[in-house]
């Protein structure tokens, strides 16, 4: 296991992925520093979610490496990556619809704890965990709804629950896959300030189509197109870059 001494939170090294003849990730390399707020942009089909899926382990790359705080996680199954401090949200909300908000977030906490193998005590026994779940719900402003089932609450609120679940584990690296998708204006600003308030202990990598909102949150930006990194750097520099215009406006 190669341990990097460069101190990056997440490194993607020459990642390649192809489905049959179609190359979806072509030699992608990223270096993200701890505490950074990185935004990944690109037109539809650029391979952004595919890249996320390879980082989270849902997809196996054909070649290349992924390192989390120096540890090589390229061949680890998704659940092990969570134990290394990786967390993610999904484009399509994947909550436990029939369960309460409280239960959802508690499950989020349970994933990293030995209690998950406990075969006779119920979750309610773990007062500390439930209290922590309540704190997390409070942090996203949803504590009053804790005992409601997910199916009862609005879409924007579900997004916040998802975020709560991902944050509950105090991840070192958080992948946000289009967190603002499908939200109304008010919901958007609520979620945006939530993301802005995430502590620096968590490095954030975000995919977003809503440029206006996302660019406010980003410090650095990576532009992908056809599975390749086109531009990569500080936000303002990337926005001003000619190549960015080309990709979005077409030449």
């Amino acid at each position: 296991m190669i341990v990097s001494t460069s101190g990056y939170a997440l490194e993607v090294v020459n990642l390649k992925k192809a489905f049959g003849g179609l190359a979806v990730t072509q030699n992608v390399s990223l270096s993200i520093r701890p505490g950074e707020r990185r935004l990944i942009i690109g037109p539809n089909g650029a391979g952004k979610t595919t890249l996320f899926n390879q980082i989270s382990g849902d997809l196996r790359p054909n070649s290349g490496a992924i390192r989390l705080f120096g540890s090589d996680i390229t061949h680890l199954p998704p659940y092990k990556r969570a134990h290394f401090g990786l967390s993610r949200t999904y484009q399509i909300i994947t909550l436990f619809a029939g369960d309460t908000l409280e239960h959802n977030v508690t499950l989020g906490l349970l994933g990293l704890r030995p209690a998950r193998w406990q075969m006779w005590r119920p979750l309610s026994f773990y007062g500390n965990m439930v209290a922590e779940a309540h704190r997390t719900l409070d942090a996203v402003g949803l504590l009053p709804l804790a005992t409601h089932p997910i199916s009862d609450i609005a879409y924007g609120e579900r997004r916040r629950v998802e975020l709560a679940m991902a944050l509950a584990q105090r991840p070192r690296v958080l992948l946000l896959d289009e967190p603002l998708a499908g939200l109304s204006n008010t919901e958007r600003s609520t979620v945006k300030s939530l993301i802005a308030s995430i502590p620096r202990e968590t490095t954030i990598i975000m995919i977003e189509h809503d440029m206006d909102t996302a660019l406010d949150l980003a410090e650095t930006v990576t532009l992908l197109n056809y599975g390749r990194v086109i531009v990569d750097g500080e936000r303002d520099a990337v926005i001003a870059d000619e190549r960015t215009r080309e990709v979005y406006l077409g030449t």
């Binding site: 989270s56 382990g57 849902d58 199954p77 998704p78 659940y79 969570a82 134990h83 967390s87 993610r88 999904y90 994947t94 909550l95 436990f96 619809a97 029939g98 239960h103 499950l107 989020g108 349970l110 994933g111 990293l112 209690a115 998950r116 193998w117 406990q118 075969m119 006779w120 005590r121 119920p122 979750l123 026994f125 773990y126 679940m165 584990q169």
Partner: protein, 311 residues
């Protein structure tokens, strides 16, 4: 409301030994055995989200091991019971490794193929299993010296085991692990991203379900004092699955109710018709087409509506 239900249940469980004749007591024992079997299957189907058509493997193998150890190799009942359960659980562990390479329909097909292979073996290996003749002349154990030969004493024994099984399975399902299991059933990708190991959670559930299937197999062979390859057949697995679905796989008690209904139907029908399989098939079609969530959820939503209406 819940307490009335529990009181009724306790009452109905006490009726057979106290008031009914031998025939009904025996029927009640059979219902308890079928209930444990269906509850063990529901650990897989309802709570684990893994539909198996090969659950009879565990009932049958435990029964056969016990039958062979006691009748042919002179083991005492206590040891035979332990070895049967241990053997069946080990088999479940092994089968789980194979079947869980797939999910959904692939899993279903593999469990079906595995149980059919066992069924075929039971018929073919006649110098071991006695093939189509089955193994007869078996005895019931006598725990603490108490004979289980009378219908009533066997019923109490079955009731104690069934209650224990129900309590243990309920604890399992309601535990933190049970929550993980249900989470993996509903959103496996999300659970993996949260740090849960979906494969291991499923495998443990599979083994535990096999364990209780084996327990029901022991009761089965004690009750009948006879074992035949049909106990390993797809029909046997299908009856349990029907009980689970008819009773409602989302609830703890539903499968027991469903299993009771299937057994009562089978008993009733075999008095008048020879064509149980055909009726089983028709009932399958009926339940799936008309009442897919099962009877118990249907009744409880009905009572909820009635209560809501009377406020």
């Amino acid at each position: 409301m819940k307490w009335i239900g529990i009181a009724l249940l306790a009452g109905s469980l006490l009726v057979p030994p106290l008031f009914a004749g031998d025939f009904y007591v025996n029927l009640a024992s059979q219902i308890l055995i079928a209930a444990i079997f269906a509850l063990s299957l529901n650990l897989l189907v309802g709570f684990g989200g893994m539909t198996s058509l090969g659950h009879a493997s565990y009932l049958g193998v435990a029964a056969y091991i016990c039958a062979l150890l006691t009748s042919r190799y002179g083991f005492g009942h206590g040891t035979a019971a332990l070895l049967s359960i241990a053997g069946t659980t080990a088999m479940a562990a092994f089968f789980g490794l194979i079947a869980l390479r797939a999910s959904g329909l692939g899993f279903l097909m593999i469990t079906l193929a595995l149980s059919q292979v066992l069924w075929g073996l039971a018929y073919r290996m006649s110098n071991v299993t006695n093939g189509d003749n089955g193994i007869a002349g078996l005895t019931r154990p006598a725990p603490f010296g108490i004979s289980l030969d009378s219908p009533i004493s066997f019923y109490w024994f079955a009731l104690i085991v069934a209650t224990f099984a129900f309590v243990m399975m309920t604890i399992f399902v309601s535990s933190a692990f049970g929550s993980s299991m249900k989470g993996v059933r509903d959103q496996p990708r999300r659970m993996a991203a949260l740090g849960f190991n979906p494969w291991l959670i499923r495998w443990i559930t599979f083994v535990y379900a096999g364990f209780w299937g084996g327990v029901s197999g022991l009761l089965y062979v004690y009750y009948h004092k006879y074992i035949h390859p049909t106990s390993l057949s797809t029909t046997s697995s299908a009856e349990a699955l029907l009980g689970v679905i008819a009773g409602g796989s989302g609830t703890l008690g539903g499968p027991a109710v469903g299993a009771a209904l299937v057994l009562l139907l089978k008993n009733y029908v075999s008095a008048y018709l020879e064509r149980w399989n055909m009726l089983l098939g028709l009932v399958f079609l009926f339940i799936v087409l008309v009442m897919p969530t099962g009877i118990v959820p249907g009744v409880s939503s009905l009572t909820a509506r009635l209560r809501g209406g009377s406020r």
